[in-house]
């Protein structure tokens, strides 16, 4: 009897064990299925962004590090220069290869693309290439080297050949170095570009400087505003927030237009000051750095106020009161107790303002002068007006790297899903 009970208990326990195992397996399976379902829901947007966002940008950026033109248009000379040591003039075979290539390219009508690419590196290369193409005799009387040097003595210059070899691809650091005002000399070592050709370090420095200044101004103006709003009763805080949000919701272009209207020479402010007799002649308030700061701060200030405000609202007033009751002066209580608690908001606000400021294009283009244009302007310039994809891509690589690094910091510190909107 007792033995029978024990046996059935054993059997029952075994079946519970088995059930538990089955259950665990079933649970794991259903969880796996749930994961697949979840991933399948994300897939459409993921694929869409891959096709219309990641791949296009990647393809564009790749043009900053590849150099496909010369190897395609002048293939034999590119090949011949591979074994050249660069210390003295290349061998006769390279000269002969160049003549073959130039003739073929002239026939195919592709010489212009090669000339454009080489002209980026050595100004005057276009003239050299076209001149040589025109003057090549049908029958060579001497060696290829003598013929070419007789047409243009630049073919006797090591630097000319080094430029040709540098452009031979398939990969290049020419554009990325160029975006830092650096270049490779005839021996292949990196040197600074000639002083009169240095532009990009200024542009990069200016972009960082303007973004930093805008961030600081936004913090200095936005922090007290957030503080005052957070201290108001809910109804009044709602009205004040509405005022902060109103420009946030207004078209960027509308606001930029408004600043043009306000600041220009015959604009609203100048006519007001003139009629009040404060000034005798119109102030120059637009197409300079001042206008860029004013317009950018105006656009970005809400991005500072909102995260700081939402952090401040969650801080209980009792902390500062406790500090005061323990004898802290108001400034000490603020500095040692209140301010540290708002640091997450300050961090979020500063990061998001700085990240956005780095990529600004329209606002500086419309209200800034020639010396106030930021890196985005030059990307648009090289992509649109001069169609120098390599340079546009190299500058984009700089801008995107900086942006994504800061984005990663933001993601780590705050989390992208907590980005505040409106």
């Amino acid at each position: 009897m007792l033995r029978g009970a024990a046996a059935s208990l054993h059997a029952a326990l075994a079946s519970v064990d088995k059930d538990a195992g089955n259950l665990r397996r079933a649970l794991r399976k259903s969880r796996r299925r749930e994961q697949w379902r979840a991933a399948a829901l994300v897939l459409p947007l993921f694929v869409f962004l891959a096709a219309c966002f990641v791949v296009p940008i990647g393809a564009m950026l790749s043009h900053g590090v590849i150099d496909p033109d010369i190897v395609r248009i002048l293939p034999t000379v590119t090949d011949a220069l591979k074994s050249w040591d660069g210390h003295e003039l290349p061998p006769e075979s390279a000269y002969a290869a160049l003549i073959t290539d130039i003739r073929a390219a002239r026939e195919a009508g592709t010489l212009a693309s090669a000339a454009t690419r080489l002209n980026y590196d050595v100004p005057g290369f276009r003239t050299l290439l076209f001149g040589t193409g025109r003057q090549l005799p049908a029958e060579l009387s001497g060696s290829s080297r003598e013929t070419l040097i007789a047409i243009d003595p630049k073919w006797g210059d090591r630097e000319t050949w080094a430029a040709l070899r540098r452009a031979g691809g398939p990969l290049t650091d020419f554009y990325v170095l160029g975006a830092l005002d650096l270049r490779r000399d005839a021996d292949g070592s990196i040197t600074g570009a000639p002083r009169e050709q240095r532009v990009f370090r200024d542009v990069l420095g200016r972009t960082l400087w303007i973004s930093a200044m805008v961030t600081v101004i936004c913090l200095v103006l936005g922090y007290p505003v957030a503080y005052v709003i957070a201290a108001q009763p809910p109804a009044r805080a709602g009205v004040l927030l509405f005022l902060v949000l109103l420009p946030f919701w207004t078209s960027l272009l509308v606001r930029t237009v408004a600043w043009v209207v306000l600041l220009q020479k015959e604009g609203v402010l100048n006519s007001l000051f003139l009629s009040l007799g404060i000034i005798d002649e119109p102030l120059k308030m637009i197409f300079n750095r001042f206008a860029v700061y004013v317009a950018m701060v105006h656009v970005l200030l809400p991005f500072m106020v909102l995260p700081v405000y939402s952090v401040m609202r969650s801080i209980p007033a009792s902390y500062v009161r406790a500090a005061s009751s323990l004898g802290a002066r108001p400034f000490t209580a603020f500095w040692r107790v209140y301010l540290p608690q708002t640091l997450p908001g300050i961090g979020a606000g500063c990061l998001i303002v700085f990240i956005q400021a780095l990529g600004y294009y329209i606002t500086p283009a419309l209200v800034g002068g020639a010396d106030d244009q930021m890196i985005s302007y030059f990307i648009a310039f090289y992509a649109g007006r001069t169609v120098n994809w390599g340079m546009a891509a190299a500058l984009s690589i700089m801008l995107l790297t900086a942006t994504l690094l800061l984005y990663a910091v933001y993601n780590r510190l705050i989390g992208v899903e907590r980005m505040r909107l409106g």
């Binding site: 979840a38 936005g222 078209s251 237009v257 984009s396 899903e417």
Partner: protein
């Protein structure tokens, strides 16, 4: 004595803070307040005091084929991009919320990244990639590009709504025998609808306000409203721009109120639901 000076100091700080806040708020609102009355000016210059009031710049806007065409283009592109972005973004947010899957954080960061990647890089990249496909100088290219820019807004707002969503509601519906699709249609969707709608409003605003991609990609036939204004500022600035700007401000006000209303409604519905 000491407390006396402190309260004076405190009061001065208070006054200073409030004065600064007032000045900053005026700074934020002034440009908008300046441009609205100018659009009703009867003169032709950006000048105060106004010589008189008239609707001539609005007449100019609505009788100009350039401006009307650009408004139409903006609506076509904006609405199409909004529909696409809202559909894709809502599905993705539901997926992210539903279960953790490998590399989810990375995927989410990618889905949000169009918000932070400088728009000039997006514009140049898309221009470059769409040219061989013949998508430039047409609506489709612009719509696709604007969809990428709008989708992150939908993902964020829908995720925010879902974070307040009570999962037991779904289990309750399923335990009562509802099919998955029924549960979604009758329980999940109605509850997250305000979040979806406010995401759609953000996506529309993002497209309606976008000028850089339009600057590169739109041919003369697809000039959007911001693109037309940009041309207007660069060429000869006329008060028609002020009229266009005023109408854009009115539209943003409507959108802003819509989002505020949806947000309150969403909070209420989640409360009722939970």
């Amino acid at each position: 004595m000491r407390t006396g000076t402190e309260t004076t100091g405190e009061r001065l700080t208070q006054i200073g803070l409030i004065a600064l806040t007032g000045a900053v708020l005026i700074f934020l609102v002034t440009p908008i307040l300046i441009i609205v009355p100018l659009s009703f000016s009867s003169g032709s210059f950006f000048y105060y005091p106004l010589p008189g009031l008239s609707l001539r710049w609005y007449e100019d806007f609505f009788s100009s084929s350039f401006w009307l065409q650009s408004l139409e283009n903006s609506l076509i592109v904006g609405i199409s991009a909004t529909v696409l972005a809202t559909t894709l973004g809502t599905l993705a947010a539901l997926g992210i919320w539903r279960a953790r899957f490998p590399a989810q954080a990375l995927v989410l960061a990618l889905l949000i990244s169009p918000m932070v990647v400088p728009v000039i890089i997006v514009a140049v990249g898309v221009y470059f990639a769409f040219a061989p496909l013949g998508l430039n100088n047409g609506y489709l290219g612009l719509i696709l590009a604007h969809t990428t820019l709008g989708a992150p807004f939908v993902v964020i707002t829908v995720l925010a709504t879902l974070s307040n969503f009570d999962r037991t509601l779904i289990r309750a519906a399923e335990s009562l025998g509802a099919a998955r699709i029924t549960t979604f249609r009758r329980v999940t969707l109605p509850l997250i609808l305000p979040g979806v709608a406010s995401g759609a409003v953000f996506a529309f605003a993002a497209s309606f306000d976008e000028v850089v991609v339009a600057l590169l990609m739109a041919g003369p036939g697809q000039r959007t409203l911001p693109r037309q204004m940009f041309a207007g500022i660069n060429d000869n600035i006329s008060l028609t721009i002020a009229a266009a700007a005023t109408m854009l401000i009115a539209i943003s006000l409507v959108l802003m109120i819509a989002v505020g209303w949806l947000r309150r409604r969403s909070a209420r519905m989640v409360q009722v639901g939970g």
